[in-house]
């Protein structure tokens, strides 16, 4: 921790003020999210009977495991300063493809890798278009979204139930401990989160993601593999969406072209509420986890309230988005 001004360099216009607080400043948004999460949880516990049951909390994970995985991929993309609008459609496509193939008695051992490959390929293709042809991510992934949704409708017009043994066992399997349980999907999601957090903090590709989000131009001149990294994050996001789709199909036991409508918004909202800047370069994966939990908690509270219609979820998410954005704004402004 440096508080004094070292001798050799005396003129540091930017550095002289508020230096001591700087290192923590990037953690503040995440801490704020954590605090609000605790507050919301406290309000829930205070107002609703049975809310304090640990299982309520675990159920948030169970219900949102797929969103968590999708949001992880979105975090990578947003950290580079990009955006991926195709995630919801890729999730839906994954469920539809999986359900269709399983319905034709393909073995799960083939279907599972295949759908993951499809998702990754779509991401890869979008990444290539974005990088090589300099199409804005917003537009390229929008096209990806149209494409994936269109393929869904082409394959099937309505929902297809999944009856495959592996799938149903994955759907029903519960890990129990001390009277509580979680689904296998939660375990998968947590593993994904841990791997992703490690990659972002401790590997070259992870740091390159931050560098590109900070200043892509500089990153290129510093000799970083900008193209490869940028394409990779979309491929990662595509993979995460496909995996999220698999988890959703475990959860719903069906493939439906109408699944995951607007999921991209939830994922983006979770990332933003988690304190990651949409302009890229700043944010943490842990924040995204908190963001997903916040969204899940809203759902839970509205369910507990019982008298509220479903559209209140949207209004509350909008309101919270507003509150978090405002808060982050105030925090960064004060720290400056």
């Amino acid at each position: 921790m440096i508080t004094d001004t070292p001798a050799p360099v005396q003129n540091r216009p930017v550095a002289t003020k508020g230096r001591v607080y700087r290192p923590n400043q990037r953690h503040i948004p995440v801490l704020a999210t954590l605090a609000l999460l605790a507050l919301m949880y406290g309000l829930g516990v205070a107002n609703y009977e049975g809310f304090s049951d640990t299982q309520v909390l675990l159920n948030i994970f169970v219900d949102n495991a797929f969103l968590l995985v999708v949001a992880v991929g979105m975090t990578f993309v947003i950290l580079t300063g990009g955006i991926d609008l195709s995630v919801g459609a890729v999730v839906a496509l994954t469920t539809v493809v999986a359900a269709t193939l399983l319905g034709k008695d393909w073995p799960p051992g083939v279907v599972l890798p295949l759908v993951l490959l499809i998702g990754t390929t779509i991401g890869l293709a979008m990444g290539c278009i974005i990088h090589f042809f300099e199409i804005p991510p917003f537009i390229a992934t929008l096209a990806g979204m149209f494409l994936a949704r269109g393929l869904c409708h082409l394959i099937s017009k309505e929902a297809i139930p999944i009856t495959d043994g592996f799938w149903t066992s994955m759907a029903q399997e519960r890990l129990r401990f001390g009277g509580f349980f979680i689904s296998l999907s939660v375990v998968i999601a947590v593993v994904v989160v841990l791997i992703a957090a490690f990659v972002l903090a401790y590997t070259r590709i992870g740091r390159n993601v931050y560098a590109i989000g900070g200043n892509a131009q500089s990153a290129l001149l510093m000799g970083l593999p900008v193209g490869r990294t940028r394409i990779s994050v979309y491929a990662i996001s595509g993979f995460c969406s496909a995996l999220g789709g698999v988890l959703l199909s475990f959860y719903m036991l069906s493939g439906d072209p109408l699944h995951a409508q607007g999921l991209e918004l939830d994922a983006i909202a979770a990332v933003v509420i988690g304190g990651t800047l949409l302009s890229g370069g700043s944010g943490f994966l842990f924040g995204t986890v908190l963001g997903v939990l916040v969204l899940g908690l809203i759902q839970t509270i509205i369910t507990f309230q019982g008298t509220l219609s479903s559209w209140w979820t949207r209004i509350v998410i909008g309101g919270l988005l507003f509150a978090f954005v405002l808060l982050q704004r105030l925090v960064t402004r004060r720290a400056r």
Binding site: Q10, R12, V14, N208, Y210, G214, L221, M222
Partner: protein, 509 residues
């Protein structure tokens, strides 16, 4: 002659952009352990040559040989791996990452693929200490000044097993002591056998550090010389390739030739104006027809002072009187209403709108002050643009060309034209000559002298002390964010005395 084998040899390099031949059959060679200056005006092709060398651009013709082997880099990373590192004029680092990461990213110390953060921090602290820089390497780069960022960039370039180090205008944002520090590092590297390609607009620096130089003009090589054998005058004439008239004007101290403007009416008077963390409260009076120069090291508060006078930043102390009446400068618009103009040091980010045409950039401030409901007619716009393109010799003389495609000097002239058409009473120019070529520099200095001769008050800021002395009637000396002294620019004021004033903090020695 027994010349040593060049570490780098570029022969017959050609590069064409749409409509522009940037390089035409250029030869260039670099010997191990030498400091070689690449000289030329803006648009001469220096940057293009460097970008070809480092693989940012691919050359259309010619060959690059490194240590005798033909190479063709596809990008900076490849070039770096082969031992060619570059530090650019603009700091090309990532502001959101820590200092340590900026030095090591792309080649972080790893074990089993996992980045070893503590080792990285330790090694970067050591590296920076070798450059006499002792800072917290875990803090984000954005918390440090430009000068420190530049040193970090050099640390990054030096750390690799470097054969050729390209320094593209590395000193443009450094103050004197930092330049000395940099030169020490350069000498040490060249002693170690590193070949250094050095680009700078500061002739004195080039003569201080370079062993040899190659001069480019209009994308062609003019020649290769030993620094010791080429007088400065000859160099400049080779660079600009026209008669030395402009250069002589450069030598002349326009500021001193004017009569004192002390009795003229006061244009602006600041009393106790200041802003916490930017500049301590100061008093400053500027008269009609007077040029006040600000002298001081980088970070002494020059720009900050100017920004307060324009209302670009809000003052939290003191006040301003304009034409004898107190005025609260709420923002640029208030200042403009009182006919104050401010041309920022940061041309690209705060000056011009690069997408817009020369014409649109020129009329922008005038149009903004009129409001959108009172448009300047297209014909009037064209008249204004043509008039100032002619008056300021803006090249190319095409009002519809996007400003992005102009060279630095011409961009600066466009920015000046923007403010001149608003007919300001006070023109604040912050580093109007930074990074532009000798010819344009002289033109801008002459222009400022003319304007003040016509009654305009000018606040002139430059990092080059000689230039401040050349242009100003009065020199205001700044140090550590304080205005410490105002000196009349009379016959016996020279750079040494100003330097003394800065060094002594304004106390009579």
């Amino acid at each position: 002659m027994g010349q040593p084998v060049p570490v780098l040899e570029m022969t017959g390099i050609g590069k064409t952009f749409p409509g522009v031949v940037a390089l035409d059959d250029v030869d260039f060679r670099l010997l191990p352990g030498e400091v070689h200056a690449l000289m030329g005006e803006n648009g001469a092709g220096k940057s293009t040559l460097i970008k070809v060398l480092t693989g940012v651009y691919s050359n259309d013709a010619g060959e690059v040989r490194l240590a005798g082997e033909p190479v063709r880099f596809t990008g900076p990373l490849q070039a770096q791996r082969a031992g060619v590192s570059t530090v650019y004029q603009e700091v090309n680092l990532c502001p959101n990452l820590s200092v340590a990461e900026n030095i090591f990213i792309g080649r972080e110390p790893r074990r089993f693929g996992k980045i070893q953060w503590s080792r990285m921090r330790k090694r970067s602290a050591e590296l920076l200490r070798r450059l006499d820089l002792d800072i917290d390497v875990s803090a984000p780069l954005s918390t440090y000044s430009l000068a420190v960022q530049q040193m970090v960039a050099i640390a990054r370039a030096v750390d690799v097993s470097v054969k050729v180090l390209v320094l593209d205008e590395p000193t443009s944002s450094l103050d004197t002591s930092e330049v000395d520090q940099l030169f020490r590092v350069i000498r040490r590297l060249s002693d170690d056998g590193v070949a250094i390609l050095f680009v700078s607009h500061f002739l004195d620096q080039v003569y201080e550090i370079a062993d040899r130089m190659t001069v480019l003009r209009n994308g062609r090589r003019i020649g290769e010389y030993r620094t010791a054998e080429l007088p400065q005058m000859d160099l400049v004439s080779k660079m600009i390739g026209k008669e030395l008239e402009t250069l002589e004007q450069l030598e002349e101290r326009t500021g001193r030739t004017h009569d004192r403007a002390r009795d003229a009416p006061v244009v602006i008077q600041a009393e106790g104006l200041g802003r916490v963390g930017a500049i301590e409260p100061f008093d400053l009076t500027i008269h009609e027809g007077e040029v006040v120069g600000l002298a001081g090291l980088l970070g002494s508060g020059r720009t900050e002072l100017a920004r307060l006078l324009f209302g670009a930043d809000r003052a939290d102390h003191g006040g301003v009187q304009i034409g004898g009446r107190p005025v609260t400068l709420r923002g640029p618009r208030t200042a403009m209403r009182h006919r104050i103009a401010f041309s920022s040091e940061n041309r690209r980010a705060e000056g011009l709108v690069e997408d817009l045409s020369v014409r649109e950039n020129i009329v922008l401030a005038l149009q903004a002050s009129r409001g959108w409901l009172r448009p300047i007619s297209r014909r009037r716009q064209e008249e204004l643009a043509d008039k100032y393109i002619k008056a300021l010799h803006i090249r190319p003389a095409d009002p519809e060309r996007p400003v992005r495609n102009l060279s630095g000097g011409n961009q600066q002239k466009v920015l000046l034209a923007r403010w001149l058409i608003t007919e300001p009473r006070l023109l604040i120019v912050d580093e109007p000559t930074r990074g532009i070529d000798v010819g344009a520099k002289a033109e801008i200095q002459r222009l400022l002298a003319e304007l003040s001769g016509g009654g305009m008050a000018v606040l002139f800021i430059s990092a080059e002390l000689e230039e401040v002395l050349r242009v100003s009637h009065t020199v205001a000396v700044l140090r550590d964010r304080r205005l410490i002294q105002q000196i009349d620019n009379d016959a016996d004021l020279d750079a040494d005395r100003v330097m003394q004033a800065i060094a002594s903090g304004g106390q009579p020695a």
